[in-house]
Amino acid sequence: MAHAPDHSSERPAILDKVRPAELPRSPLILNNRGFHWITDKVCGIVEEPTPLWWKVTFVVALFIASFTFIGLTYLVSTGTGTWGLRSPVGWGWAIVNFVFWVGIGHAGTLISAILCLLRQKWRTSINRAAEAMTIFAVMCAGLFPLFHVGRVWFGWWLFPLPNQNGIWPQFRSPLEWDVFAVSTYFTVSALFWYMGMIPDLGAIRDRATTWWRKTFYGVLAMGWRNGNRQWSNFEMAYLLLAGLSTPLVLSVHTIVSFDFAVSNVPGWHTTIFPPYFVAGAIFSGFAMVLTLMLPLRAIYRLHDVINQYHIDNMCKIILATGTMVGYAYATEFFIAAYSGNAYEKFAFINRAFGQYAWAYWIMVSCNVITPQLFWFKKVRENHALVWIICLFVNVGMWFERFVITVTSLANDYLPSSWGYYSPTIVDIFTFFGTFGFFSVLFLLFIRFLPLLPMAEVKMVTPQADPHAH
């Protein structure tokens, strides 16, 4: 300790004699990897010749994506009647899939923004991929309401643009709030993602040898020079965007839940919806992050950068949010019983024991029971099992949206207008294909953009501390 900092002026004298114990912290980067190793690792993913697994997966993903294309083409050329939507269930899979995909996106913003504000340094390793996931998930989500409007060529009427009818969107409607929430969310997430990537694009540019690589990354890097005068503005902008994204992400799923909560349908008209939806969104999003990152970690041997500590943390967040979601299910039941409202009571008994009881119990077992396994360290360390549990969570959260949307609409007030909703093959094609659409985008991201934020990962290594020796 040649240059031990002199803190005598700011600390009580006793502390110089009695040194406070240093709490051991889990290392974020294992094996004491250096800066150059990190650059090589991340740039290597982009620079290596296209691996065979990538080509095969890409073709499969394109094939799956074609199902959405077929489904939507059939829908547009025939009409929305080809979806299973009919009275009394006017909101079927379209809204279920929309809420499902938007919810997936929320973990990306949670990791990039909220964990940044909370100074959770472990976020750096998974931040970039999670943000990419957010953007692609919101793109998948946007497809459903866009095509649900029926005549998709009038989709621009959703926005306050002057049109030949001289009419405007109606801002008292939560659906219009949703247009603003989701489009703002997409835009801000994309800006945040791109801005965070600029220094890393610069790093790839600086290593580029071929003409197209120099041009592609050079243009995207905007002439970034890594100067501290630039970093100073960059860091400030990054922090501000994190600060803006935090209230944004909470508002987005709150407003999505308003689509339901502002109506007076039994089972939807509840004040618990905003926090309950946000917790569910983070829950499903983290499950999706792990679903994507565990295979990538194995393929690219990122074990030093994404280590057990990261996986543990994500599992614990899934456990916490899964428990919150379970608590919300219980609260809904209690409030329904306590409200004294016959319709509200019926809506919940009907959810658990009515014609959609099968969906309800899939939801409860996937969302409430499976994540409880993450209490055990042995489970969190078994990555195959973690991956499977995350798949269960994804399935469970899709069913949650299905249960909320469909059970309330199928059996609302008058038994004479009850019905049973089931999707058609066009619904199934369209939804199935979005997984391909998402995978195509994500695979392109892996192949052409820096998968991990190099600069941020370097920043959390011990040798990045200017006071280290």
Binding site: W177, P199, D206, R225, N228, Q230, S251, Q463
Partner: protein, 180 residues
């Protein structure tokens, strides 16, 4: 600036460790330099103070953007739903700050984010795809694992030989002249 400095951008030197470049930066700051920069692969914690940089002005544009967004949201919802084509919906007022609040909220965030994003570009003078440093042989390593201090010729303290010696006294390696 004297004549022999005309085609010189500055003098650069490299460091291998974050702590070395940090302490060197403090000395450059104390020597009264204004036109200089420290190039690092990642933002070094506390470097702004070590360089004596003022607080970043980006938040001003964030605030401006946020205020613009809120006002835009108010004008948009008022003009469309209350002025140009008023219709009664659910017995609610034609315009109040309450019912379109989610829209105002999102507009505020959207415009504040634009202010922040473009503010970063404006204050960093980006995009700029050509710069004398890009031709410097060591510069490509700055985004990898090397730290670099560049003293620019536009600073009144600048003198080729003296500045080179100064960098040497700071412990800088690979001291080279960067040409314009």
């Amino acid at each position: 600036m004297n004549e022999r400095n005309e085609r010189i951008h500055g003098v650069a030197c490299t460091f291998r460790k974050a702590s070395d470049v940090y302490h060197a930066a403090e000395k450059v700051r104390d020597a009264g330099w204004k036109q200089w920069d420290v190039h690092t692969p990642f933002p070094i914690h506390g470097m702004d103070q070590a360089m004596g940089l003022p607080r970043s002005p980006v938040p001003r544009l964030t605030l401006l953007g946020g205020l613009t967004g809120f006002v835009t949201g108010c004008l948009l919802t008022w003009y469309t739903n209350s002025f140009d084509y008023p219709i009664v919906v659910g017995g609610k007022p034609f315009w109040s700050v309450i019912f379109p609040f989610p829209v105002l909220y999102e507009c505020t965030i959207l415009f504040a984010a634009f202010g922040t994003f473009f503010g970063q570009f404006i204050f960093n003078r980006l995009p700029r795809h050509h710069h004398p440093l890009f031709d410097h042989p060591q510069f490509a390593r700055v985004s990898d694992d090397t730290f670099m201090i560049v003293l620019e010729a536009t600073d009144p303290n600048f003198h080729v030989d003296e500045s080179r010696n100064f960098l040497q006294s700071l412990g800088g390696q690979e001291i080279t002249i960067v040409r314009d």
